[in-house]
Amino acid sequence: MTLLTVENLDITLGGQNILSHVNLNIQRGEILTIVGPNGSGKSTLLKAITGALKPTAGRITRKPCLRIGYVPQKLHVDVTLPLTVRAFLNLPTRHKAARIQYALDQAGLPDLGARQLSALSGGQLQRVLLARALLEQPDLLILDEATQGLDQPGSADFYRHIEEVRQNSGCAVLMVSHELHVVMSTSDRVICLNGHVCCEGKPDVVASAPEYRAIFGSGTQGALALYRHDHDHDHHDCTTHEGQHHHA
């Protein structure tokens, strides 16, 4: 089932064309990753999908009553705003105390409910942001560079947790990441974005597409090789460059 469809999306901000003719769709239960260099419009695309930005042209169609859980890149809590983890988890919907505690247990932070949000470490804050997004029982979980600021074991943990969440709740996951090798191994589909969709398909297909190589070089090949054998090489569904797939 299609949760969300983006058709011919154009976004112009301050006279600058950020995104043009972007088409994509998200299916239930899949993990879709968007990769792209800085300034390629990844965050803009996510903003358009959550509704924070209006399309200049094109259309975004959501499944009726689509619930979105959004985990931002970072969260700045103003020093004037006192906010405990528990109070934050109750925004914008109030939940039963038992559910909040369960969410905290699941996030591996059972004792931090009364802690101030501003006193958490980067990893703890990331888990709390994820826990809050999951409390809404989303159909679609959106992660914007969610592991930025985490060390390698930390982000590996985080992605394992995401995989678990997907298994248990069946929600779709849309993420933006710069950690190409980790992302590639956990995604069902990858979209390479650079103002427009350069190429799209299974991780290994995208990784070897010339457009992708042109942007990221072949520096990630070593890491990718680890995962390459997991994927079916006969099934090339890179939309724009079928048949141009080269083995490294």
Partner: protein, 284 residues
């Protein structure tokens, strides 16, 4: 002021029919009405760093006062209309990439200056401009009281109704959008509330000190609060206490009431800062 007091106290000593005939009771109720609305709204003003915005809106209200006097309409209505126009102007200009503090400084003080000049042009009106700049809480009548409490009830009602959406929009507009909340709509609710508070607070503390009633109770509550709700409740208590003690002190020392209320709030702020520092030292 002493003479007013004697004359107004007179009916009370004869045995008044209702308690609202007592100017002190009316002043107390008016002050509490403003405290109930200004304190929780003030928390949002502090969280969103809108203090200057509050100043600009409040200062513009003096222009509204001039308008009301010229057109012979209610001061509340005039002040509120101009406050809303000012708020809309600020919101509009801030979208065009002006430096916010500079622009607010320009708007805020020009509005005040134009208002003062406009009042001086009014023919056949002998008004005490001081009453609008610093408030005249002892002169509040029953109609004023009704308007103040209706306005306060409206503001508190809106804040309670929208509290979670307002809070999430304040914390992060992106999170709000993802949850299906439009932060611009929430901003509009705050702007409207601010205009109402400015309008009802003119009689009580005057345009120059309205921002104080918004900011000081909230700042006082910050050091001893752990959640947003607690901060709003404590700020309201601080504001009510400031009104009560300010009225008492002004009666006792024969000082201007509006500024005395703000002085009391400031004293509470210093107390809470020291208390906060003490608590911090103990936990370390």
């Amino acid at each position: 002021m002493t003479t007013t007091m004697i004359t107004t106290i007179a009916p009370r000593t004869k045995g008044s029919t209702t308690m609202l005939d007592d100017f002190m009771t009316r002043a107390l109720l008016a002050g509490m009405g403003v405290a109930f609305a200004a304190a929780p709204l003030g928390c949002f003003v502090v969280w969103r760093r809108m203090a200057y915005f509050g100043d600009a809106t409040a200062h513009a209200a003096i222009l509204g006062v001039a308008l009301s006097l010229a057109l012979n309409m209610s001061i509340f209505a005039g002040a509120m209309i101009i406050a809303l126009v000012m708020a809309a102007l600020v919101a509009n200009l801030s979208d065009r990439g002006f430096a916010m503090d500079t622009m607010l400084g320009v708007l805020s003080h020009s509005a005040l200056a134009f208002g003062l000049v406009a009042v001086s042009f009014l023919p056949n009106v002998r008004i005490d401009i001081m009453a609008y700049l610093f408030g005249d809480i002892l002169a509040v009548n029953k109609v004023d009281l009704a308007v103040i409490w209706c306005g306060a009830a409206l503001v508190v009602g809106m804040l309670i109704w929208r509290r979670n959406a307002l809070l999430l929009s304040t914390l992060s507009p992106d999170l709000a959008y993802a949850s299906g909340i439009d932060p611009r709509r929430e901003q509009l609710i705050l702007t409207l509330s601010l205009a109402i508070v400015v309008a009802v607070a003119i009689k009580v503390v005057g345009v120059l000190l309205i921002t104080a009633m918004l900011i000081i109770p909230a700042a006082t509550a910050r050091t001893i609060s752990r959640t947003p709700l607690a901060m709003m409740v404590i700020a309201t208590c601080v504001a009510v206490a400031a009104v009560l003690s300010g009225l008492q002190v002004s009666l006792w020392q024969d000082t201007p009431t509006g500024p005395t209320i703000v002085c009391c709030a400031a004293v509470f702020f210093v107390f809470s800062m020291s208390l906060g520092a003490l608590l911090k030292e103990r936990t370390n």
